[in-house]
């Protein structure tokens, strides 16, 4: 019932409350006054009738004793002066009705106006059925000679009540009107501060302006509320200012860090490009150096010269391996590796590593222990070998004394290859970052770009194997390659051949056509191939090559060509020209120092055998043997 009241405005609420209570009290007062007035009016009416009746009764006392009807009638008729008296009855001392007066001016149903039975044990005066009935004893000298009964209408009472009610209503209405006027005006002292407070709250909410304040002009609870609200706004404003400061600080920091990230990215790119460029530029001379140093070793040298030549050759080897790493990173960044999964005897890979690393380890005075294994797994043997090789190479690099231990084991789910060393170890906080490119564990005495582990990470990802690291600073590290077990078909196991160590002249009586636009390379290649017993036709361009072939009148067993020839001619052009001229698709090998991604993609697409500079003689020989099937 109060629900609609709850939702109206404060102003209306106040007015409603005031009007309601005022109306209620005015009505209550009026009703009380009307009631009291009615009572007093009734009392005075009774009194009046009693006096009038008593006068008449006294005047009639002797007359009734003498039964003087005329006198009594006269007496009763004198009551006509009182208009409201409807009926008067006179009884004698025996209680018999003696005389009756009827007001003829009032046209009330005469039936109702009958004199009642005499019953005057005591005088009384009562309101009954809208009439006042008065009983009076007629006495003379305390001697009762008869009785008088008066019946009076209450029109006066009614009209008086009506007048009073009318007056009350007019008074109430005018007071209410005045109250409404006054309360409408005065309620603002209560409602205005509250309304302005609520308006301010709304404004704050809409504009988000916390600097707004409300002026306090009352000392009551609303004033306190306004003070509290202002205080709250001040607190919020302060807090907001602080938050804004923090946010702007954060924004600046973010911008900085974004800029840093961009510059780091750019740096990374720059470094990548630098290495790619460097590897390309350095590859050519290094390639030549390798060929020359090998040729030098094979020639007749004194033991002192031989020793120096060997050291030179080793240095070139080291350098070459660094470039190979760089190239691998470029290759892996191009997402080229595609794992060629097949059953592989783990021992084959391990044996190969043994040959490569035993000398390196002995050189540093380290013991290299490689446990042989008869485990066969499904994997890409080249990639896996690369992983193990890199880890082993790192182990030797970062170990100054003690030993390197390569072991393998198999459990229910996985094959695990462990490479343990007694090296400098890797600090806990570094263990997660070492797999990123160009991160290197700090050492004093060795070189390396830290690419090895990055390659491991990428290859292991391609192979879907896990590489885990346990290490303690100063005590050594242990890398575990965890290869999930898959069923192996034994009949497909490829017996990868251990590279044949030394064949004096593996390619005797074979003719090779070599095309390279750089004379140094051509010379070096010619010396190397000649040492292997081959005949060499060298040319600086495809045209010169065809010319020379034409002159010699022979068909070479194989074409070895540089990729980037002069005048934007590529190795593919050379191969095509030679094939056209010979009308025969002799095996061809491209050698390139270029590691840019587009070219790598092209080589891959054409299924072309490519060797990268700096070229290792052993690799060249292996590729030639493979291509020629010898």
């Amino acid at each position: 019932m109060l629900q609609p009241f709850r939702n109206i405005s404060i102003k209306r609420k106040l007015i409603t409350i005031i009007m309601f209570t005022t109306t209620l009290s005015l009505c209550a007062a009026s009703i009380t006054f009307i009631y009291l007035d009615r009572n007093s009016l009734q009392g005075s009416m009774k009194q009046e009738l009693l006096v009038l009746g008593t006068v008449v009764a006294q005047r009639s006392a002797i007359a009734i004793a003498f039964r003087d009807k005329k006198a009594i009638t006269e007496n009763l008729n004198s009551l006509a002066a009182k208009d409201s008296i409807e009926l008067a009855c006179m009884y004698d001392s025996g209680g018999e009705l003696f005389s009756r007066y009827l007001n003829k001016r009032n046209s009330i149903n005469n039936e109702k106006l009958k004199c009642p039975e005499y019953n005057f044990e005591f005088e009384k005066s009562d309101f009954k059925n809208n009439f006042l009935e008065t009983f009076i004893k007629v006495q003379y000298n305390n001697k009762t000679t008869g009785g008088l009964y008066l019946k009076t209408n209450t029109h006066v009472l009614k009209s008086h009540l009506y007048e009073y009610a009318k007056l009350s209503s007019i008074t109430i209405i005018s007071i209410l009107a005045l109250t409404l006027l006054l309360s409408s005006y005065l309620q603002r002292y209560i409602s205005h501060p509250i309304l302005s407070l609520s308006r301010l709250a709304l404004q704050v909410k809409e504009t988000n302006d916390f600097s707004l304040r409300l002026k306090r002009n009352t000392g009551d609870e609303v004033g306190i509320l306004i003070d509290s609200f202002n205080g709250m706004l001040a607190t919020i404003e302060e807090a907001k200012a602080r938050i804004d400061d923090i946010i702007s600080g954060l924004k600046i920091k973010k911008e900085k860090s974004d800029a840093n990230a961009i510059s780091a990215d750019q740096k990374s790119k720059a470094v990548s490009e630098f290495f790619a460029g460097a590897s390309h530029d350095l590859r050519q001379p290094l390639h030549a150096m390798g060929i020359f140093s090998n040729a030098l070793l094979d020639s007749n040298l004194s033991s002192n010269q031989h020793n120096l030549a060997t050291k030179l050759s080793l240095s070139i080897e080291n350098m070459s391996s660094l470039f190979t790493d760089l190239l691998d990173i470029s290759k892996l960044d191009a997402e080229l590796p595609h794992a060629n999964i097949k059953p592989v005897k783990l021992n084959d890979i391990i044996e190969k590593l043994k040959i490569d690393f035993i000398v390196l380890a002995n050189d540093k005075g380290l013991a290299l222990k490689i446990d042989s294994s008869d485990i066969v797994i499904n994997t890409d043997n080249i990639m896996l070998e690369r992983i193990i090789r890199n880890l082993t190479s790192n182990a030797i690099r970062y170990t100054t004394e003690g030993r390197i231990h390569i072991s393998s084991s198999i459990n229910e789910n996985n094959t695990i290859i462990k490479i343990q060393d007694t090296g400098i170890g890797i600090a806990k906080e570094k263990q997660t970052v070492i797999f990123d490119s160009y991160t290197q564990v700090e050492t004093n005495n060795d070189t390396g770009l830290g690419l090895g582990l990055s390659i491991v990470k990428k290859l292991s990802h391609a192979l879907k194997v896990k590489v885990e690291l346990e290490s303690e600073l100063g005590r050594g590290s242990c890398f575990s390659i965890i290869i999930p077990n898959t069923p192996v078909e034994m009949k497909n196991v490829e017996h990868s051949k251990i590279e044949k160590s030394i064949y004096q002249t593996p390619f005797s009586r074979l003719t090779f056509l070599v095309i390279d636009d750089e004379q140094d390379i051509l010379d070096a290649m010619e010396i190397l191939l000649t040492q292997w017993g081959a005949e060499v036709i060298s040319a600086s361009s495809p045209n010169q090559a065809i010319e020379k072939l034409n002159q010699a009148g022979i068909s070479p067993a194989m074409l070895i060509t540089d990729y980037h020839l002069s005048d934007e001619i590529t190795g593919f052009d050379a191969i095509r020209d030679v094939h056209e001229f010979l009308d025969e698709e002799i095996p061809a090998l491209i050698i390139t120092g270029n590691t840019n991604k587009e070219d790598l993609i092209i080589f891959n697409k054409n299924d072309q055998t490519v060797l990268y500079k700096p070229l290792k003689p052993a690799a060249l020989r292996a590729s030639i043997s493979q291509l020629l099937g010898i």
Partner: protein, 162 residues
């Protein structure tokens, strides 16, 4: 319908009531009585037909005095004075003599004829057309040292003031 005899009897009853009422509404001074215990004497002189009716009130108390109602033919017995003296028709021929012979102070004399109040009596009770009425000679009442209330006077048909 009332018979003639009935009406006569009724008239006699009214007369008796009148006499009784007069005892009530006429004031006698205390000197009219020997002491507080003295009776209020009502003497009926002569032939009185309503005597039986009035005698019913004999011994009753009026104004704290007992009524003593007597009916006599003997003038001597009324000479010493009554408070109310009703003179019957048979005794009214020689009224002046009668009043000369009796002690008149404090005596409310009542007669049954029209001229009774004109010949030394105080009140005359008489019959008009339809009712019994009375006349009061107020001078005579005052002469007899009686006080008659105005209410009673207002009921009287005529008031003589000579």
């Amino acid at each position: 319908m009332h018979s003639h005899a009935d009406i006569d009897e009724q008239n006699e009853q009214v007369k008796a009531l009148f006499i009784y009422n007069f005892s009530n509404y006429v004031e006698w001074p205390n000197s009219a009585f020997k002491n507080d215990n003295s009776f209020l004497k009502i003497c009926l002189f002569g032939e009185i037909p309503f005597y039986p009716f009035l005698n019913i009130f004999n011994g009753t108390i009026v104004k704290s005095r007992q009524l003593d109602i007597t009916n006599t033919q003997n003038l001597d017995s009324i000479k010493s004075g009554c408070h109310i003296l009703f003179v019957g028709n048979d005794k009214k021929e020689n009224l002046p003599d009668l009043f000369k012979n009796i002690q008149n102070s404090y005596v409310l004399s009542i007669g049954n004829s029209e001229d009774f109040s004109n010949n030394g009596g105080v009140i005359s009770i008489m019959r008009t057309q339809d009712q019994i009425e009375f006349e009061i000679n107020i001078n005579q009442a005052l002469k007899n040292k009686l006080y008659i209330t105005s209410d009673l006077l207002s009921l009287a048909r005529a008031i003589h003031q000579h």
